[in-house]
């Protein structure tokens, strides 16, 4: 087990290093940065939905919360290190409280979806209505539907004048994604991750085996929210403005579509789904013949109907079916030998 984890880490590092080196030659780093950030956001939902079986309709809530936390803290502090940490912590705590509320109340599937959706809506409605001058946190005006522009963007820790932007910011985000990806890998390989998958498969069984299902779901939910919060903070830095649109239903819907298209129950699927679909949207945005939303919707419907497992599992199954045969045959022969002596 230990050895294969080591191997996987090395493989991930090599592949991602290659990608980080090669991709900027094909796509502009400004676009790539946001694809990487969306990949991280996709990963956050892929973790809690694909491995914990928690369908959260409001992952955008944590994304937006992270972005707003960063923006507000950055205006007040004028330095980016503490705001970055806060942008992870605030969604983490928020999700822990919300998760505890839901999971100790034994809410499942539809009800879970409704509550997370409603919480996202509440945040959206609230933030959208804070245009007046009375809505102030420290020096930061919440700005309602106009959002918050003009906050301190990412800088080298301890040196507020040394901004990280342009190409270096892309490398920063890409490395952050790789680190988060490896942490998720490690988490899923740990006993916590195995129990989480067990809960996804059969909650009652895991409860009867003596695991505190509610506590574990809460922790997993909060972890996903923390990753989404980090993605939000990175997004705020990329866009240099935060708007209530971050909390919108459309944003939530998109994250779910990324996961479905990429493939649930894989780590790579949601990342690739997010980056791929975001890039598709970017390309489609350059034409005005067919509406963007229409295509996104069609993709979702077609995937649910014809490829409900998503791209990555489908491709890997195809790969195994066409190239895995050579390895399976000797095994079958061995088995036959064992049986007939």
């Amino acid at each position: 087990m230990e050895r294969s984890l080591g191997k996987e880490i090395i493989a991930t590092l090599i592949v991602s290093a290659l990608l980080i080196w090669l991709l900027p030659m094909v796509i502009a780093t400004y676009t790539l940065t946001v694809l990487v950030i969306y990949g991280m956001l996709g990963l956050s939902l892929g973790l809690i939905w694909g491995f914990g079986g928690i369908l959260c309709f409001g992952q955008a809530a944590f994304f937006g919360l992270g972005a707003y936390t960063y923006a507000i803290a950055a205006i007040n502090l004028g330095e980016s290190t503490v705001p970055m940490l806060l942008a992870v912590l605030v969604p983490l705590i928020f999700a822990a409280v919300l998760g505890a509320l839901m999971f100790y109340g034994r809410l499942t599937d539809v009800y879970l979806g409704v509550i997370t959706l409603v919480v996202t809506l509440i945040l959206f409605k609230f933030v959208n209505s804070t245009a007046g001058p009375q809505y102030v946190i420290g020096n930061a005006r919440l700005g309602g539907y106009n959002g918050i522009p003009g906050f301190q963007t990412l800088n080298v820790p301890g040196n507020p004048d040394a901004y990280i932007w342009g190409d270096p910011y892309f490398y920063f985000c890409a490395v952050a994604l790789v680190i988060v990806f490896l942490l998720v890998t490690w988490l899923l390989r740990s006993s916590f991750g195995r129990v989480a998958i067990g809960i996804r498969e059969n909650e009652t069984r895991m409860a009867l085996m003596g695991y505190d299902v509610a506590a574990r779901k809460t922790v997993l939910f909060a972890t996903g929210a923390a990753i989404a919060g980090l993605a939000g903070a990175l997004f705020a830095n990329w866009g240099e403005i935060v708007t209530p649109g971050l909390f919108s239903l459309g944003q939530s819907a998109e994250i779910i579509i990324w996961c479905i298209v990429g493939g649930l129950g894989t780590r790579l699927g949601p990342v690739l789904g997010a980056a791929g679909l975001a890039y598709l949207k970017f390309v489609l945005g350059q034409q005005s013949l067919i509406d963007n939303t229409l295509i996104t919707g069609l993709i979702l419907v077609l995937f649910v109907l014809f490829l409900p497992k998503g791209l990555v599992p489908a491709v890997s199954a195809l790969w195994k079916a066409s190239f895995g045969r050579a390895r399976r045959r000797p095994l079958a022969r061995q088995r036959r030998k064992a049986r007939h002596g």
């Binding site: 409605k125 509406d291 939303t293 919707g297």
Partner: protein, 288 residues
């Protein structure tokens, strides 16, 4: 005195519009256990149908009460045949597929009608109560909602078709053994649900300007009303619409419309946390 009358009408109106918004979803979800996230877009289509029909010279009330439900019902029928029928019993998949459908509808509406706000004026004039002005259209909505609930009750309880539909939803295999086709009954129920959504969208259209994305404003409210209502179709719809309508209006009057909306949503979260089976899961058990 005048003020309390105005408040009473506003509260009744809030309850009635929640009933209208949720009725179609209640039929589809409460009976068929299909979560139709495209419900808001069905309403949006109903609104656009009305506006288009009125533009073509049709009487407003005919357009709202006849044409819009029929057109949206037919759209629902096509959707059921193409998508939903492959997904019965797979709750999460239906949710996602209908979400995709809602995006498709938004996209189509944007391509056809453009991204600008369109609307029609309310066909009933307002009148004064003491110092206050009341919109006469609010009364129309209250009446439509009341008639709708009574009609649903009558059909489900009093007619043979309602009995067959209810029976099929409870035990499809037994209904099939008795010689009814569950496939067809599901289809008809989905048609009725969509038609109700179309009606709601059409009736509410004169109050709000329509944009292709205006379905999103309804879906969350409809969703929480139906879910908080719980398993009983009509008792659940009425009880949750009343609770949320009252909460919404009280906070709207006391503070502001936005806080009213937020209070409604917070009430929904609290209610679902306390009664995960919905109101009728705990009270009014066994009622229709």
């Amino acid at each position: 005195m005048d003020l309390s009358f105005v408040i009473a009408v506003e509260v009744l109106y809030a309850v009635a519009s929640l009933v209208l918004i949720s009725a179609g979803l209640a039929v589809v979800f409460g009976m068929m256990k299909v979560i139709n996230l495209a419900h808001g877009e069905f309403m949006m289509l109903g609104g656009y149908t009305t506006i288009t029909a009125v533009g073509l010279g049709v009487n407003v009330f005919v357009a709202m009460l006849v044409i819009a439900p029929l057109v949206v019902g037919l759209v629902g029928l096509i959707v059921e045949r193409l998508v939903i029928r492959h997904l019965y019993g797979r709750l999460v998949d239906t949710m996602l597929a209908t979400w995709g459908l809602s995006l498709v509808f938004i996209g189509l509406a944007t391509m056809i009608f453009g991204n600008t706000t369109t609307g029609i004026s309310t066909p009933i004039p307002g009148f004064a109560v003491g110092d206050y002005q009341i919109s006469g259209y609010n009364f129309f909505i209250i009446v439509v909602a009341a008639v709708l609930v009574i009609a649903m009750l009558a059909v489900l309880r009093g007619t043979r078709a309602g009995l067959i539909a209810r029976g099929t939803m409870q035990r499809a295999d037994i209904a099939a053994a008795l010689g009814y086709s569950p496939d067809r009954i599901y289809m008809a129920t989905f048609f009725c649900g969509s038609a109700l959504s179309g009606l709601a969208g059409a009736v509410l259209a004169p109050l709000v300007g329509l944009v292709p994305t205006s379905g999103g404003a309804y879906i969350a409210k409809a969703f929480i009303t139906v879910i908080a209502g719980g398993p009983s179709l009509i008792a659940g719809l009425l009880s949750s619409a009343t609770s949320f309508g009252v909460v919404n209006q009280v906070f709207t009057f006391a503070i502001s419309p936005v806080i009213g909306e937020v209070a409604l949503l917070v009430a929904a979260v609290v209610l679902l946390r306390l009664m995960p089976q919905g109101i009728t899961g705990r009270f009014f058990k066994g009622k229709l």
